[in-house]
Structures are given as structure tokens and as C-alpha cells.
Symmetry: D2
């Protein structure tokens, strides 16, 4: 799983009665492939994965595997509180035909770093697919410590990391540790610090905002690969301005509803999906917030009108 580049966490369009909207999801997937992305991460946090039961999750994977047809690697999040439930999702993902799994630490239950290692070991032993560890303390409320990641790598239990911790210094220290291990793949989950992450050794990025502007992130990645840091910074600063679409719901809504809701609203305004609501109890963006998203899209050149 020598992943690299831009691997957006795909949002899940919903029908009015909260089912997976297959035609809309296919349009989103084609939009991302047309944007030049290097992989796709299904069933990540931005997909509302923890709102979906097993049949809905299987449905998402079935559609993605069919639509993408091997053009880019597919990662599947297998996110649920505890080991055996994660393994059940992992088996479903394997059956669906994805190329790798994305695994968080257990949550709700408080788990020690040693127990986290056992969690990854159990998933690895149950399902023979590459695993990307997913460090997202804002959701699971425990950090995958550097020493833990070192053990997981040394024992061959993970092949990469998606770091959504926001701790850029720690990420850099990780990157330095992994310099001698080119097969281990480091991705940042940040939308806003991609140029610097690539400069200090990341192999790529998993940007929620990449749902809206995949070509922008691909251009940023290409500039970084050429070491044209001036251009990379220029694109990154435009994407930071665009990221304002993710902030229009707060403080009325939760940050999650504001972020995912902002991405879905933008995709609706771009004509890719017919609805921008999310699973309960997330509040969708209201009319005023939607107008602000529209103005941001227009200001950044993604919408002709408004």
C-alpha cells in the first residue's frame, strides 16, 4: 500500500429519508476522480460513518468499488467503539474489495496504550489487509502516542498513519523517525497545513475540503512534489480561504455539523448532490449560512454566479 498524494475522505450524500443516495455518491466519486485524486477514503469521519449501521456502510463500499473500478486505491474506515465490532466492519470491507483499512483507537471505553496495541494486533490477525492507523483524539479522546506507533510499526501491525491530531510538531518528529522506513506512509488530516506537512516529510493528505475542490489539493500536491513551495503556499492560502465554508454553522451547530454540512452544502451548490442534510441529530446549514457558503465559493472562483 504505497499510498501517496491526495486521498479525500468522501462524504456520503443522503436521500430525504436518510438512505445512501447512490446516484449522488457516484457523482461525487466521479468529481473526485476527475479532480485527479490519488486515492479515496470511504467511511471516514466526514462520511458520517458512526451514524451508519453495517448495511449502510456496506452499501457505500459497494457503490465506491463499482464506480472507481480500480482506478485509484480505496481505503475503508472501520470505525466503531471496540475491537470485535471493528473486526466485523473490517470483514465487510474486505468482502467489498477495498485495498486497505483505516483503524482508530477504541472509544467510549478508556483504553491504555498497551491495550491499543492489542486492538490493532487483533484487527491485523483477523483481516489480511493493509492498515492505516487513524490518530483523531478530538473524536476518540486518546492520542496514538509516538511510542505506541513505534511499537505498531516495529511489530508490522500498521502500514501508515493518518494524523488528524493537529499536533504538527509531533507529526514532524514522527516523520523524522520514519525517514528510514520508506514503506511507512504518513498522511495529514489537516486541510490547512498541507504544504508544510509535505515539506517536512508527509506522503500526502486526507482533506475533507478535497470533496469540494479536489483539483486544488492535487495542484498543491504537484507543486510540493516539484518543490515549488511558493506556488504550494499560494494554493494553500486560497484553500484556507475556501475552508471558511466549513465554519458557517458554528456556534449554532456543532463543529462536525458545520464542517460536514459546509462540504455537503457546497456540493449541492456545485450541482453534485441534491440534498445537504446529515444524519440525526446534526443540524443542516440554514438559508443564511447557505448563502454565506455560496458567497465563499463564488469568491474563490468555484461558482460563476452569486
Amino acid at each position: 500500500m504505497q499510498l501517496h498524494g491526495i486521498i479525500p475522505p468522501v462524504v456520503t450524500p443522503l436521500t430525504p429519508d436518510f438512505q445512501v443516495d447512490e446516484p449522488a455518491l457516484r457523482r461525487v466519486l466521479r468529481h473526485l476522480l476527475d479532480g485527479g485524486v490519488h486515492g479515496l477514503f470511504l467511511l471516514g469521519s466526514s462520511s458520517e460513518v458512526v451514524f451508519m449501521d453495517a448495511p449502510q456502510r456496506r452499501e457505500v463500499l459497494r457503490i465506491a468499488v463499482d464506480e472507481v473500478a480500480g482506478r485509484v486505491p480505496l481505503l475503508a474506515g472501520v470505525i466503531d467503539p471496540t475491537t470485535d465490532r471493528v473486526i466485523a466492519h473490517a470483514r465487510d470491507a474486505q468482502a467489498a474489495g477495498v485495498d486497505g483499512l483505516v483503524v482508530t483507537a477504541p472509544f467510549y471505553t478508556r483504553t491504555s496504550q498497551a491495550e491499543i496495541v492489542e486492538h490493532f494486533r487483533a484487527v491485523r490477525q483477523a483481516v489480511p489487509l493493509p492498515i492505516m492507523a487513524y490518530d483523531i483524539p478530538v473524536c476518540v479522546h486518546v492520542k496514538l502516542e509516538r511510542a505506541t506507533l513505534r511499537q505498531l510499526r516495529a511489530q508490522g501491525l500498521i502500514e501508515g498513519l493518518k494524523d488528524s491530531s493537529g499536533d504538527d510538531t509531533n507529526f514532524r518528529l514522527l516523520a523524522l523517525e520514519c525517514q528510514g522506513d520508506p514503506d511507512f506512509r504518513l498522511f495529514t488530516g489537516s486541510e490547512l497545513m498541507v504544504d508544510t506537512a509535505l515539506m517536512i516529510g508527509a506522503h500526502g493528505c486526507v482533506p475533507g475540503l478535497g470533496n469540494v475542490d479536489p483539483a486544488g489539493y492535487v495542484a498543491l500536491y504537484d507543486a510540493a512534489r516539484r518543490e515549488d513551495w511558493r506556488e504550494a503556499r499560494h494554493i494553500q492560502e486560497r484553500l484556507i480561504r475556501l475552508f471558511a465554508i466549513a465554519l458557517q454553522g458554528t456556534p449554532r451547530t456543532s463543529p462536525n455539523a458545520s464542517g460536514v454540512g459546509g462540504f455537503k452544502t457546497a456540493l449541492r451548490l456545485l450541482g453534485l448532490i441534491p440534498q445537504h442534510h446529515m444524519h440525526r441529530p446534526n443540524a443542516p446549514l440554514n438559508a443564511d449560512e447557505t448563502r454565506r457558503v455560496e458567497a465563499i465559493l463564488a469568491a474563490e472562483g468555484l461558482l460563476a454566479h452569486a
Copy 2:
């Protein structure tokens, strides 16, 4: 649901292959009823609920409803990350025949206080059973704020609260607020501050340690009802010493594994269950830790030998 008194969160004995051990669970339930408890809380945090899938959860409820046969009220935890998944569990619990539900805030996803109100509203609308709100920030990482609980009460969406937040001052302010609403029921989730909680207005307690010594907690409750606070404190202090069984695994294990593991180990030493292991990735107490649990049980008069 005019609940009161001691309502232990029942642990779930497991067979060696991680299934619900029905004979052992029945023995634990009889042990609790023999201890005089006033209700039972199935599928709470101490039951390892988030480790169990829906069939396992239904199995626990089926056994409990059958074994208890209406002698005391049964509450069922319906704990999973998001609204619709909670509702699915709530329907299962209703079908099993329990008397009430215990509902936390959503987790993994970060949810605003307003969205939490909508979460409770959706559960209420889906399933016509009394609801006890469960404030457990150490697991869900959001507090059920006093203002939120006020809204939930005012809108008739909850009938009680289990407070496992450890914030005794806030609990007292809640108790004062609810003095004019005798139908609203306040329970502490603390094992260690039950006498003071009852003194300041709690209606009862949901003590994990009550699995091991239900009669002790019932005696404490009875002393409090007579306002014999000297006796209540005396019993509470003995139970605090006994609570040391929940601390023998740390720091080797997580606090959760140490606590639930300590309760299960004690139940095994008391001859009630044949195994003390937990679901993966929780590490069970080792031989040395088990000996320390045995010594504590003996010192507090629950075991003749050791």
C-alpha cells in the same frame, strides 16, 4: 418510573469464547436480588455494552427479563455513538420488556448541547419508554449541562438522571433545581460518595461495586433513609475500602479494565462466575492482582479464607 434506591449496573459474565454466559449471569442477577437491590441497570458501561453487538445485547436483556420476572424494575442502556443506532437498540430493549432506557449523549461525533436535546427528542419519539439521561463525560467527552437537563425536563423528554460526572457540586445544584419536581429522579453513579449524594437529595445510586456487595449498598441506603448519617458514613467508608478491588489493575491496564476486571474477579472469587476476563482489548487481572483482590475481599469480610 418512580425509581429509587440501589440499582447496580450489572456486569456481563462471558464464556471462554466471549459469549454471554447465561448461567453465570443468572447467578449474578439472583445475587443482586438476594442483596435487596431496588432495580437493575443492564447494559451500562460496567456491562461492557459498547463491546457487544445487537444480538449479544438482546441476549443479556432476554436473560434478565426472564430471571427477574418483574420483581424489580429493569433499565437498559442503549449506548452507541449516534441517534438512529441508539433508537435501534431502544426498540430491541422495548421488545425485550424492560421498564426504562438509559441514554447518553452521542459520542465520537462532537455534538452541541442543542443537538443533544434533539437526540433525546428523537429517542423519545421513537420509543415510548421512560428515559434516564446518563451523564458520563469520561466516556462521551461532553457534559450534559444543567441548562440542557433543564430543557430536557421541561420538554418532558427525560424522567431521571444518572450522574457519573464526578462533579458533586453540579449534582447538588441539580438536586436543588429539581426539588419542586418529585417525579424527576436523580441517581449518582459514584461508588464512593453515596451517603453525601443521598444527603443532598439523590434518590439513589448506580454503583458498579454493588455487583460485589449489593447488601452493603442496600444497608447504606436504608441508613440514609432513616437519616442515620453516622451509620451511613460508617458503611460508606467500608465500601470505599472495598472499592480498592477496582484499582489493582492500573497502571498496567486501563482504568476500565481495572474496574470491571476487579468486579469480575471478585465475583469469581465469590463463586458466582467461572471466568473474570473481558472483551478485547481489555486485559484481565493477572495472578498477582487477583491475589490482592482476594486479600481485600477477605479484609472486608466478604471472603472467609485468604
Copy 3:
């Protein structure tokens, strides 16, 4: 230093140009003595101690020693970031003639628990006065852990504890540990949980609200000593309602400015001090907030009018 009972942290009235208002401070001290308090804590957090330089602090102590004239024990806070600066204040306090010191952990600098022990040892070696350790993580951002307090007691470095941590469970475990050491004195810094603190073994309380209603807290303490917990709770619940005077500034001001400002405003309305402002940059209560304080005082029977 066999302290017990109600030991209010005395506020510091200020002249319009931010100097210690001696006549007003003397009136507050007489008000507290008239209320029957069992000791006085000068230069605590409620006194705005960290706003005062050494001459102002000496002035406060000079006035208090003179006014109190040995009728009750006097404790002096010696609160500043680091060891040698604390010792300098401790020498001033000794020279002023107080009976004991109140010492926090170092702050601003992050200090380990072992370094905290050395901090207390250095103060003890420099100044031969009894020391009450002051656990106030909300200000110093480190907890005096139970193991640390055990070391401090075992090595004879402290004679008591003022616990303003809000962690009532930990306080109870401390009280149990200290049952065999009757000379060690445990005080709660809470205004709201005094009855329960006394029930579980505290020797007394250091309530900021005691500036306003010392007789109320003395009556609560007396009820607790008689083990009349019904009366103690009744008084405590009245004092909880009165505590609303400390909450009228937020969220406009900081919690500190709202609390100390509320106490000072009440003392002004009671005719004891002419000004209710605080040191910069704390914002004093405004006219609207002052009216609300007045209404609360009237509702609780401390003001005839309003």
C-alpha cells in the same frame, strides 16, 4: 495549629486609587469576628493577593494583626510563582505576627510533584511557622496529588490542607487517609459543599462567601458539630442561593472578577466598605449587576430594603 471551623479568606477593600482601605478593612474584620468565625485567612485568592506588591501585603497583615489582637488565629497566604519569592513573603508574614502560612504549588513554571515537595521543604526550613498547603489547580494548574500530600505530611512539612480543587471524592479519600492523624487539619475551599465536607471528615471551611455572611457559615458549622445534618443542609441550601451574588458578572467578566466583585459589592451594599472595585484589569460589577446582587441579598434576608 489545631485549626477548625469557619476561616473566611478576607477580601481587601481598596481606596479609589487602589490602595488598601484601612478603615474599611477593619470594618470587614470586625464584621467577621462579630459573625463568630474561628480564624481568618488573609492574602488568599479572594484578597486579590497576586495583584498586591510586598508593601501592600505587609499593610494588610499589619492591619489584621492589630485589629484582631489575638482573638482568633490568623493565616497569611504567601502566594507568588516560585520558592524564594514565597519565602520572602513568608518572612514578612512572620514579622507581621501571623499564626500560620498558606502555601500553593509554584505556578507559571511547570513543576513536578517531586519539585513541589522541595518547594514546601524550602519554605518550612526558611520560616518556622505552621503551613497549610493550598490545593487550587484552577489557579496554579497543577494538583497537589494525594501521594504528594502523604509525603509532605510524613516528612512533617505541612500541618493542614485547604482544598479548593472541587474534587470532593479525592478530598474524601484524603480525609480517610488522615483519620489516624488528628493533628492534620483538612479544610474545604468550597462555599457550596460545606455540610457534606464536614460530614466526611473536614475540620472546617474557608468560604469566600463567608465575607458576606459569616454568621451563616458559623451556624452551619455548629449544626454539623451537633450532627444535626437536616439543619446543616437547610442552612447550606440558603447559602447556595446567596452564592448567586458571585455569579452576576459572568460572562461579561472573568469568574474571578465576578466572584470577588460580587462579595465586594455585597459588602458595599451592607454598608461595610465604600467601594466595590478591584485591582486592574478586573472589571467591577456594573449597575445592573449590582441591582441583581442587591435583590439576592434582600431575598435571603441580609438586606431589609430592595
Copy 4:
């Protein structure tokens, strides 16, 4: 105060009896100037400023002003809990002849963002020197929020920021906000993310490790000015390895004692200062830790032997 470049926070060498070691301090200052630094920050956190009383602080400034003799700008930290005490230090600093002040939010007392603005306003009105705001939540436990900094800039109350918050994403958003205000100066307090900070718009860096290797940081800054990011990263990675000297004391000591102690130990091993101890209660590095510091210095080419 158009500051830029490398402005180390100068450590304070101490004599065996804890006084400022003037000859050693002069050697450190010459070492920094020889290294090509662009300014000096006296009485910062690394100087143990909160351990020093006013005379010691004045002594440090007197020596620095004399030794530096105008060759580079001098900033003075005026760090103490509250406004008027900060102003007293600011007057001393002005009298000593420094070029600017470095001001934190108040600490110990909890202060609102609005009160923080008043704090800066009061310092500004009292002392007519440029002010660099110092965001160091790990010490003062409050963040200088972006909206607060916006107000401080708009009202002309500060001329720059030293960001030691470790929140690189927020720092970048600040840098973007300030692009239209070239007179406002942004410095990172990080030792480890200097290349990326400069790439995203910082004007310079205040590295504690710059005490040990000022020429290294100057070379990094020069590479960044030429936009030679490959070279900048190469130097940064060497300095990250060198930073290990700051980590040898933990967990035996506090992070502060380990960091400042590591810098002082390195300066002693480099022959610049005769003692490496710190103010009480900080524990100095022991013999074993010192040997590890020596090995790191040798491995990074700063010491011939070892």
C-alpha cells in the same frame, strides 16, 4: 520595532548562591552576538524570570544593555501575575534602556479576553515602549485568542507576537490575517518548526535552543530568506536532533527544569558558564543526564571530545 530573525531568550547563569553570574552572562551574550543573532530577549521564560525579584531582573537588564551596547535590539520580558506588577517591571525595563517589552496575559487569576485587552492597554499607557504580546498558554493557562490579538492590533496596543502556544494552524491563520500589516511582527517560540513557520509568514523565531547554537538558527533563517527550503529543512532537522539536550531530565524533573537545565548544562560543557543549576525548586541535571547531553553535543558537532 521592525524586528526579524533569530532572537534567543537568554538564559541567566547563576552563581553558587543563586545570584546573577555577571561574567558568565556576559560570555553568553557575546556567544549569541558572535553567532549572528538579530536581537535578544532578556527575562523570558527560559531566563527563569518568574524566579527572580525586581533587583535581580534589573541586574540582568543592566548587564545586557551594557554588554550589547546597541548592536542588536533588546527585548525585556515583564512577567508577573497582574497588571500593576507588570507595569512596575516595565518601568524598570524602560529605565534600563531596552528597546521593547514582552507581555503575557495575567496568570494565577483567571482573566477574560476582554480583561486581557485592558491589561495590555494599561501597560501601553504606563510605558511608551513597543510591546510584543507573548502567547504561552502552557504557563499562563489562557490563550491569546485570534479575536483578542485582532483587537490589540487594531487599537495599536501591540507591535508583535511571540507564539509559544504550539498551535501551528492558528499561527498560520494569524499570519494570513496580518499579511496586510507589514509592521506587525510574528515570531514563533518553537525550536522545532522554524522552517515551516518562516515559510508561512513568520518574521523570526525566539528559540531557547538558540542559547546553545545561535549560528545554527541564523543559518536556518538565512536559508529561509533565500527560499532555500531544502537547506532550511536540513538545518532544522539537525537542530531537532540537538534539541534532545532539553529532554534528558524528564520524567525525573519537570519539563521546565529539563529544558532550561539542558541548555545550561550544554553551555557549561561548551565552557561558557561555570554552573548549570537553576533556581529552587528546579532540580539540575544529574551526572548521568549530563553525560547524555555531552554525547548529543558531540554527535551534532558542537563538542570535539566525548
